[in-house]
Amino acid sequence: MCLSESIVLITQDGVRLDGRRIDELRPVKMQVGVLKNCSGSAYIEQGKTKILVAVQGPREAHPKHIALPGRAILRTRYHMAPFSTDERKSPAPSRREVELSKVIREALEPALFLEEYPKTVIDVFIEVLQADAGTRSAGITAASIALAEAGIPMRDLVTAVAVGKVGGKVVLDLNEAEDEHGEADMPIAMMPSLNKITLLQLNGRLTRQELEEGVNLVKKGIKELYSLQKQALRARFSGAQVEV
């Protein structure tokens, strides 16, 4: 993250490069039930970021010794397709992907009643088909509705989006240019109805006050995404035809 002086990421009037206001999400599209051979699936587009999520399970754990007697194991895999980035990404999992798989799992886990499926495993596969910033949060948002489609009982959905600091201002939902040339990126996931934070990360530099501003701003984005998640689930269960 480096502050590049030559690019004006945001005008005096608070208009961003792509025309958005400070507190505006990118265009978002979500669909549930886009795949047939898994327990649940969802597709999300947030700006140019495009992600396909599938849930497999609950199913018997293999190998058996990983199973827990009192609850299901949740496993997550965050992965980027080789063609998802400007430079081709090696398909081998990077250290970044290992870390994100972990924090995403820990963002989803608090919402799930895993104790209802003892001795099983639930797999969440998040495949980034096109990466334009915000992939971990869009991945969480989509994973949550895929888990719902798979019938895993939940306390609440999990909804995520990043706030960041760009041209000195705290803004919502960075795109790639803002992420690269801005000063900070802070992805946050919440259970919106319960008002609990399940993921919190920061890369960059924020003052105490900006931290506070960020946490306030993010809730606006999460609220909007939450209602899109519920809409996508309704569309799925009202029997509407869904396509990838």
């Binding site: 795949l35 047939k36 051979n37 898994c38 327990s39 699936s41 140019k48 495009k50 396909l52 999520v53 599938a54 497999q56 399970g57 609950p58 199913r59 018997e60 293999h62 895999r77 992965h79 397709a81 080789p82 063609f83 998802s84 980035t85 400007d86 430079e87 081709r88 398909p91 797999d123 596969f125 495949e127 088909l129 096109q130 990466a131 334009d132 990838v244």
Partner: protein, 271 residues
Amino acid sequence: MLADLSTVEEFVPIQQKELLALLSTGVREDGRKFDEYRKVEIQTSIYEKANGSAMVKIGNTVAVAGVKAELGEPFPDTPNEGVLTVSLELLPHASPSFEPGPPDENAVEMSRIVDRGLRESKSIKTSELCVLPGKKVWVIYVDIYAMDHDGNIVDASGIAALAALLTAKIPEVKVEGEDVVLLESTRGIPMAERPVPVTVAKIGDYLVVDPSLSEENVADVRVTMTTLESGIVSSIQKSGSGTLEEPDVLKIYDLAYEKGKEIRSLLAKLG
């Protein structure tokens, strides 16, 4: 929740018996005729960051291909030719039986079938991908993802790879001495052939084209033949632990060529 593979295998004989009874009446489980391909849908240019991309649906089977072109070094033995690299990943999304991680023997075999289909037919004019002889050539990566597995991933993958290549755009370049400058303008990847893989399954004595997942599960053998417009066959692969009769070879060829023509006519509409 799918039972694990070993159990599936135990049940095969029973499922096969039912399916064979059905086939003996001349119809397939999903109502198709033996030589009937499922509906094929092709979408292209779906990912802006890739030089080319395509999604192919064959019924409920979905495969996606992304093409990335990078300047790189040629192989020492072909200094004046671009490089083609094809790989196929069976996404764990596509089936409860697919595991994430490095490709297993099935994924390796399938990606090599698709790769050979493109390569042996000389579909890409690799000599036109040379930029600085012996030093810089276009390296074309074709990464294919099986996303939803309802049978016949190989054909879906091969058609997706072909559609992505046919619609890919790579930058024009200007060579100044030893330096290569990428221009704003683009061109297509120069293609000589449109090799289309068609898979036929043998179940008992019946040959059925474009097997569904339940047909694959009980098939003795699958044969993929990749044919060209001219009728030339550029790649064959038998897979599965069953056997073929000698006359099957030409019967499968005839099916593959016929269906290949139909699919090639869909590709022609991509422009």
